[in-house]
């Protein structure tokens, strides 16, 4: 396959940035999207050009480090897939592919396709945990958990924190990310004592970071590589409301 890539290049936070066009040839359909960029970067290095910076690590769809907007869609058009798990067999020979970083004010561009997502860590710091110091736990079987609750909590807990939800949201909202953690812990008996204070603290932090509000457009869940359902946000809003009226 031969492809034309239009890639966002930005040398640092203060650079205005621009789209740059590259031709890549002999792309195998079995390559992953990132392997295709590796091949381009190897060429750029040999030619003495600055290779395209992008975040990636596990390359198996679980660490949440990679993420780019491909042809206008976070992680590309294939549903429930991270960028690293996207393969070139889903593109046509001769296609032009546009590649951009996540764009949201709370995710400033560091370089090229690399953005700063530390706001997510601060949302977790605000309350995305159960306060249980090591060594203080009772026997695991002392509290049975309904299988349905455990399964639903797991579904919310599969969030990889990649930030595609924010990139896709017209409001730049982090609601799906925040709601996933609130729902995961809020469904389990172990998460009950801090349930409402957690929801309040996390939502307040999300707002403080400059993320927008949720208007139920559902773009977030459509691009989510783990398919976190939209009703997590309803759960978050319900807990947040209770916390504020208590």
């Amino acid at each position: 396959m031969n492809l034309t890539l239009r890639v966002w290049r930005q040398s640092g936070r203060d650079d205005a940035g621009r789209m740059v066009t590259y031709q890549v040839e002999d792309v195998s359909p079995d390559m992953s999207f990132l392997e295709m960029l590796d091949v381009l970067n190897e060429r750029l290095i040999v030619e003495g050009d600055d290779p395209i910076a992008f975040d990636h690590d596990c390359r198996e769809g679980i660490c949440g480090m990679c993420g780019m907007v491909i042809n206008g869609v976070a992680h590309g058009e294939q549903r429930a897939t991270t960028t690293c798990q996207l393969h070139m067999r889903h593109f046509e020979d001769g296609a032009t592919i546009t590649i951009e970083p996540w764009r949201a004010a709370p995710f400033p561009v560091v370089k090229d396709l690399v953005v700063d997502r530390s706001a997510f860590d601060r949302i977790i710091q605000a309350g995305g945990f159960v306060s249980v110091p090591a060594g203080s736990a009772p026997d695991a079987h002392s509290v049975p958990v309904r299988k349905e609750d455990a399964d639903a909590a797991f579904d919310a807990a599969t969030c990889i924190g990649c930030g595609a939800c924010v990139a896709a949201c017209p409001n730049g909202s982090a609601s799906l990310f925040t709601a996933a953690k609130i729902t995961h812990l809020g469904l389990l008996p172990q998460g009950q004592p801090e349930r409402l204070s957690r929801a309040k603290a996390m939502v307040d932090q999300m707002d403080a970071e400059g993320f927008g509000g949720c208007t139920n457009t559902g773009e977030c869940t459509a691009v989510c590589p783990k398919g976190i359902p939209l009703d997590a946000i309803a759960q978050m809003n319900s807990d947040y409301l209770k916390a504020n009226t208590k």
Partner: protein
Amino acid sequence: MKYSEGPEIRDTKAPSGPVEERWEKRKFSAKLVNPANKRKLNVIVVGTGLAGGSAAATLGELGYNVKSFCYQDSPRRAHSIAAQGGINAAKNYRGDGDSIYRLFYDTVKGGDFRSRESNVYRLAQVSVNIIDQAVAQGVPFAREYGGLLDTRSFGGAQVSRTFYARGQTGQQLLLGAYQALERQVAAGTVTMHTRHEMLDLIVADGRARGVIVRDMVTGEIERHLADAVVLATGGYGNVFFLSTNAKGCNTTAIWRAHERGAYFANPCYTQIHPTCIPVSGEYQSKLTLMSESLRNDGRVWVPLRMNDTRAPGDIPDEERDYYLERIYPAFGNLVPRDIASRAAKNVCDEGRGVGPGGLGVYLDFRDAIARLGRPAVEKKYGNLFEMYERITGENPYDVPMRIYPAVHYTMGGLWVDYDLQSTIPGLFVIGEANFSDHGANRLGASALMQGLADGYFVLPTTIGDYLAAGPFGDVDDEAVAEAEIRVRTKIDRLLAVNGTRTPDSFHRELGKLMWDYCGMERTEESLRKALERIPELRKEFWENVKVTGTNEELNQVLEKAGRVADFFDLAELMCLDALVRTESCGGHFRAESQDADGEALRDDEHFAHVSAWEYTASGEPVLHKEPLEYEYVKMTQRSYK
């Protein structure tokens, strides 16, 4: 490569007495630090996987002043996150005959009698606390309808002791540790430094006192000082270029600590995981594991005939060779990883491999789907099947998976004593970065167990014994300056070469060489060849590598070049270690040492020891042997037949 032999290591600091009382004894004898003093004690933890994340969080909870570092943009991304199958614990919730002693026994046997009994027994004891801790944190383990935890069986065990969260156990456990860590960040006990890479260890007056790190966004070289340093920087499987590790996993932190004086133990012990997706082309950047848990229900086979090109569905049962079930009737598809991997290599070497290039075997769910129904199989393995389809474009519900072994884990690592302290006082090493507990082969679902045992329960106790004598006062300026100069010199040197080959192209070549000569099967000849070729390639690297850009920016080429440089040096030591150990054991298979059936043949008379290598400036390492004694588990030739 020349080496010499130094004095044996006789004292590992493990208490004596009955094995089940040793950890209790050590906990009681360890000095305590008064809570008011803990605030004055600074600890650096490098790496935020299961071991590092849980250690930093726990040390913070105890009141120490902790600095945590990771190269990723968030501590939640460390590669523990990718562990799929599960975590072992001797809970015996099934009543199927499991016990702490049995987990201990299985682990010592699974490690092919090359681990320490004291350490392994402690690991089995602590395993039960890990499950309690994780559940209390809200880790959503799989459950039965009665609300209790579900378990499954894993390779190398005949009981069901593996707790799991669908195929994402590592993710869920890591997020538990990450959340505990972020809680401490909020509490102010832990300061987090993301996108920072450790490039050297500061040793002053014989103690580890800090690290030199590079801010990967600005390029700034920073010095961080402390009373103790904990390395939790993972394994070095990426020396092979292609492995199941994350792309960023590297040996730099432990290698540079080794250069500062920490012994490196059993570097040749590499685990090749039997169930990975086969390589599809030259551009391949990493290999993806398919959880070993799949071997619970999937049956491994190849065609009986050589070069059989029929589609798998067209090959009738009597023309299939379910070779694991045939050769190992007692354990069948659940034999330990090293055995399953070599068996796959053997059938492929016989010309019976499947898929492009004949480097693959089938992992077939046809019978499981017929027996349990597709929904049950989907529930258990749904996400793994999806992952397989995404990568290969084939649907494993209809056609059997194709799998092949790939480098997955390194049992070797920095040498540590019973307290997890290295040969440099004040330098502790935990998780995959150390060598302890797994011997020559790690059992499935034991990596998560060890990482969390070290981080939540063992290190926080033993480090206190060391820190009780602190704070250790000001750090000698000269030692800090020296470390910083070493780092800057290396970076400048890499930037100055301006050759014609990329760091990745060297890494690929080194990895291929290691896979061919120091991979699943090693011979004296192959290792000698590797030891000849590695220095040549390293020389070319330092004369011809091309690193674009400058230090003072986000520069992924520079990061990579520094890591590859260290992989060269490590690769050489791995091959030397493999050459010196003329026996086969666990993941280390020397073709010269096998029995009549082609199984690994240990040489207990000459090799029942840990090989701990000391770095010397002359480049000629010194070998220190730590004898291994077995009081409880009788040394026998492993048999899974």
